[in-house]
Symmetry: C2
Subunit: 165 residues, 2 copies
């Protein structure tokens, strides 16, 4: 690799085989479009089947299957409720495990705002309640300091190698 | 909403319609599994068609189509090269726009490490070259301070509303 390209220097330290990496594993669970959109709606306060259906405009069968996947994966929990005179129904709520996906959701949103929205902003923005500042997904070290992409190294753990190609 | 669920308080301030949000837009561009895995491999130093093919084990037609999508979207640029005695070929390199997706990729990886890997770690980890600390995707405010999920509010921009449901 002999490039002067801006991004080429990032994480070039390893040629370890990443086929079994955790990006692929996570994608196999939540990478399907409706699944991430359900998570998005959960975090905006939607909890009932009919409300998801109205917003997502997917088929009931697809919604039902995706909610089942999310529940079995521990990302969503079902809580029963009962309106007067109606049968028992279930609400869906995000778990702590789902909360840990927020950097992914916010990262997808901010990239779309910046690169795909007509005027560089989307229909919503995320701000801190306590100080009003805009919230974004970022790369940080263990002490919370910003890490530049060019400062990042990918370190193989399973199959250590010193190869630097 | 009357829940005591940990995550329920997050971003519940709005019921604005998010169907056209930037998460959906970004997903429509890069949400397909192979596309994100191509980006992952680009950042680990892979740049040539045959190398992608060997690692991803998808069909050449799928790889070709996904690289075309990424190139047209400005996430990848093609650079020509020529081995002695062979015809001109192209390498694929991530652009600055692709670098801005790193929080998403790192977020997917760290979630999978934590929740799907057998021992809570994946085959690789990302560290800062300068201080050796582990790098993670996090939610921060404009001054880089960590923001707790419960401190996040979703503010509608396109269709302002004061509804708090």
């Amino acid at each position: 690799m002999k490039s002067a390209c801006y991004a080429q220097c990032i994480m070039k330290a390893t040629a370890s085989d990443l086929r079994d990496c955790s990006i692929a594993s996570t994608l196999s669970l939540i990478g399907e479009k409706w699944t991430i959109l359900i998570l998005r709606d959960l975090f905006s306060g939607i909890s009932r089947f009919d409300d998801f259906l109205r917003r997502l405009e997917c088929s009931p069968a697809v919604l039902s299957a995706r909610l089942k996947t999310l529940t079995e994966a521990g990302l969503v929990r079902r809580v029963s409720y009962k309106e007067p005179g109606e049968r028992e129904r279930f609400e869906y709520r995000p778990t702590r495990s789902a909360v840990e996906l927020l950097p992914v959701l916010v990262g997808l949103m901010q990239w779309g705002d910046r690169h795909l929205a007509a005027d560089g902003t989307g229909p919503v923005e995320i701000r801190s309640r306590s100080n009003g500042q805009r919230v974004s997904a970022a790369l940080v070290d263990e002490e919370g300091r910003a890490v530049s992409p060019s400062d990042m190294a990918l370190i193989p753990l399973a199959r250590p190698t010193t190869r630097q190609d």
